[in-house]
């Protein structure tokens, strides 16, 4: 049983050369379980994760991971960490077993027997048993992703950081990866980034919503849903009004209902059309948070 750790983010920010601010000063506390970073592309999720993984130097602020400062103690953090970037390459000429053995060596598992045991364990965890002798270059996208997760788990890390783990996968593989992540979150901190709300719904205990490098929400899924409760509406409108409605409200779903359209919107209410309140889903809550932020920023 691995004891979960705590992460304290203190005023962490990143501005790239050229003045592009990827992450504004951020304060967070991350505890046990699966913590999701949700946001559109370019919202600063990857930058945040790379800084936590000690691969990117923050511009300001710092983060303490189990007491280790990301600025001062990279080695100490890397010993606690399993990391899988979004676009990662592995060595195509090695077999799955050899690749994992190589990564185990880089994880400072020097003893041969311990290494073999670790490789067998993660192959089992990632359900790669049938492919252990297959060359990495011959694996499908989903299998590569599982191998990526397997390599991150080699040293039984207390902190697992995974960037967009389900991106580009088919539905079956996506479900498999989600289940694996949910399982892993039981005894360690898992930070995953995604722009797919369903991933968060299926795996995360708490989340942060980012937009243009700014934290819009942080808390549990229940807290996010509670915030949106009473702001989700279902109504039916003639087809010809759909375009006009789209300009006025934030749609979270559009369905056909005979010759009319049934729509799901988030907001204070719906004018001029009979609407019934609906129980918010995570997607509604996410879009609501984004819409509020956009209107506060004066965006259409």
């Amino acid at each position: 049983m691995v004891i979960a750790l705590r992460i304290e983010v203190k005023g962490l920010s990143k501005t790239y050369e050229g003045g592009v601010t990827a992450l504004r000063p951020t304060d967070l506390e991350i505890g046990d379980g699966v913590f999701a970073l949700l946001g559109p592309n370019g919202s600063g999720k990857t930058t945040f994760m790379r800084m936590l993984a000690t691969l990117l130097e923050p511009t300001e602020g710092t983060a303490l991971i189990d007491g280790h400062d990301i600025r001062r103690d990279r080695q100490g953090i890397r010993r606690l960490l399993g990391y899988l970037p979004q676009d990662f390459g592995l060595y195509p000429t090695l077999t799955v077993e050899e690749q994992l053995d190589y990564m185990a060596l880089l994880s400072e598992i020097a003893d041969r027997a311990a290494r073999q045991a670790a490789v067998v364990r993660v192959i089992e965890q990632a359900n790669l048993g049938d492919f252990r002798k297959r060359r990495v270059g011959e694996l499908s996208g989903g299998m590569r992703q599982r191998l990526g997760i397997a390599q991150a788990l080699l040293k039984e890390p207390q902190l697992l950081i995974i960037d967009e783990p389900t991106s580009g996968l088919d539905p079956e593989e996506r479900i498999r990866i989600r289940s694996l992540l949910a399982e892993l979150g039981g005894d360690r901190v898992v930070i995953l980034s995604t722009h797919i709300v369903a991933d968060v719904e299926a795996t995360a205990d708490s989340l942060v919503i980012l937009r243009l490098g700014e934290v819009l929400f942080t808390g549990t899924i229940e807290e996010l849903l509670a915030r949106t409760r009473g702001r989700v509406w279902m109504c039916e409108v003639p087809r010809e009004r759909l375009h006009e409605m789209k300009e006025q409200y934030v749609f979270t779903g559009v369905y056909r209902a005979g010759d009319r359209m049934r729509i799901r919107v988030v907001g204070e209410g719906v004018d001029g059309v009979p609407a019934e309140a609906a129980e918010p889903a995570l997607e509604d809550a996410y879009l609501d948070v984004m819409a509020v932020a956009e209107s506060a920023a004066g965006e259409p």
Binding site: L55, Q75, Y83, D87, F88, L94, M103, L106, A110, G148
Partner: protein, 436 residues
């Protein structure tokens, strides 16, 4: 403070295991196979043109196969290995590991160097095969060992420079700079002071030290850039790099100041040797040169005996036959009556000793340390100049008074019977009285 032996053992075990994976990656690539097979096929073809004796194949492996065929492949593969993570987008997966990047660099170098040496060993075998296949002659076990020893430093030196240049510049194109340097020395090395030619065996200490300094320096810089924790001896790498560099430069300085690179016009002994001329005197010009054991050998040590002197060069395959002739003569005639001496015209000073041990030649085999590239044989060394040697192999036979009795122009193409007859004639020639 306890000696951290278990940690050292564990670290070296990890390095070795990573190095094996690294060489496996290159070896499994299609380019690795194509390159390796092409290099070996070229080496075989080159040796097949001269299948006379295995030692010629061994020599060609160390002067052509290793430096000219294998090195370009090694440069390409090592540059690729140094930038592999970036090329495969694996840098972040690898970089987030606690294993220090500079140690991974070391493992990568070890893996690539090991693979290069393995390929070189296979290439040597390919160079020795033609003499077995086409001439039915087995190589002495020493032949591949010597060929390997002669090639190892230049290969590793270039390999180390390539890895270091690419790793520091963070660009595989930096290997092109090393390739230009390598090509320059290969093409123009003969026109430079010999200390600049890393392929010469006598420069081994200089280039081994400089190569090691480059590796240690690169590791020290990488370690600093990645801000790895200090460890027990934080200054060990940079200090070791500086020490190795100083040793290399010091060795080069010492060699050029007191050794083979002294300009000929400043070396009184060389000038004196070159000033001798058989046209003006019937006596064979004298010399004092190091033999295969590294001891000085003077022609005056053979006074009172008939002398058979063979000028030879490893670059001329016919030399092997001439050396065999010398072996036959030295076995047939008593040592107190006939002295056989082989003079090696090569700017690599280890060749003579290597050939002597490979061929088990017992007669003195000296190296003309003044040999340099001149475009023509008679201009390539003071002794060759003094003896008017225009082609090698070349045999001279003198009587007991060291007067040349055989026509030097004809005897190089002579059969053993002709040389034997000339030696008998020289033995029968009366020695003139010494006139004070």
């Amino acid at each position: 403070m306890s000696w951290p032996w278990p940690r050292v053992q564990q670290a070296s075990h990890s390095l070795l295991a990573l190095a094996v994976h690294e060489s496996r990656m290159t070896l499994r690539g299609r380019a690795g196979w194509v390159g390796g097979i092409a290099a070996c096929a070229l080496a075989f073809a080159d040796a097949a043109l001269r299948p006379h004796l295995p030692l010629v194949g061994g020599f060609r492996a160390s002067t052509f196969g290793g430096p000219l065929i294998l090195t370009p492949f090694a440069i390409v593969f090592i540059a690729g290995a140094a930038r592999r993570d970036e090329a495969l987008a694996a840098a972040e997966v690898v970089g987030s590991r606690p294993f220090p990047g500079y140690r991974l660099s070391l493992a990568r170098m070890l893996g690539q160097f090991g693979l290069t040496l393995l390929l070189y060993a296979i290439l040597i075998v390919c160079s020795l095969l033609p003499s077995l296949v086409f001439a039915g002659k087995f190589a002495s076990p020493l032949t591949p060992i010597h060929a390997f020893a002669r090639g190892i430093v230049p290969l590793l030196y270039i390999a180390a420079l390539t890895y270091c240049a690419v790793a520091l510049a963070r660009n595989a194109l930096a290997a092109a700079v090393v390739a230009v340097y390598w090509l320059f020395i290969q093409l123009w090395g003969d026109f430079l002071a010999r200390i600049f030619n890393f392929a010469l065996t006598q420069n081994w200490p200089t280039y081994a030290a400089v190569g090691l300094a480059a590796v240690l320096g690169t590791l020290a810089i990488q370690r600093r850039l990645e801000r790895a924790p200090g460890g027990r001896w934080p200054a060990l790498l940079p200090v070791a790099a500086v020490v190795m560099l100083l040793l290399g430069v010091g060795d080069a300085w010492q060699r050029t100041a007191h050794g083979h690179d002294k300009p000929l016009h400043q070396d009184a002994l060389m000038l004196e040797m070159a000033a001798q001329h058989p046209d003006g005197s019937p006596r064979m010009p004298g010399f004092w040169l190091p033999d295969q054991h590294g001891r000085g050998f003077s022609l005056s040590q053979t006074n009172g005996r008939v002398l058979v002197v063979c000028f030879w060069s490893p670059h001329r395959p016919g030399s092997a036959t001439a050396l065999e002739m010398l072996r036959t003569l030295s076995a047939e005639f008593p040592a107190d009556q006939v002295a056989c001496v082989a003079v090696c015209l090569s700017n690599d000073h280890a060749i003579s000793a290597h050939v002597a041990s490979e061929g088990r030649y017992r007669f003195p085999m000296v190296t003309d340390v003044g040999t340099h590239y001149a475009g023509r044989v008679e201009g390539c060394s003071p002794i060759a100049e003094a003896c008017l040697v225009t082609d090698v192999p070349r045999l001279f036979v003198t009587d007991r008074a060291r007067r040349v009795v055989a026509d030097p122009g004809n005897i190089s193409g002579a059969t053993i019977d002709q040389v034997r007859a000339t030696v008998r004639q020289a033995l029968a020639t009366p020695v003139p009285p010494v006139i004070d």
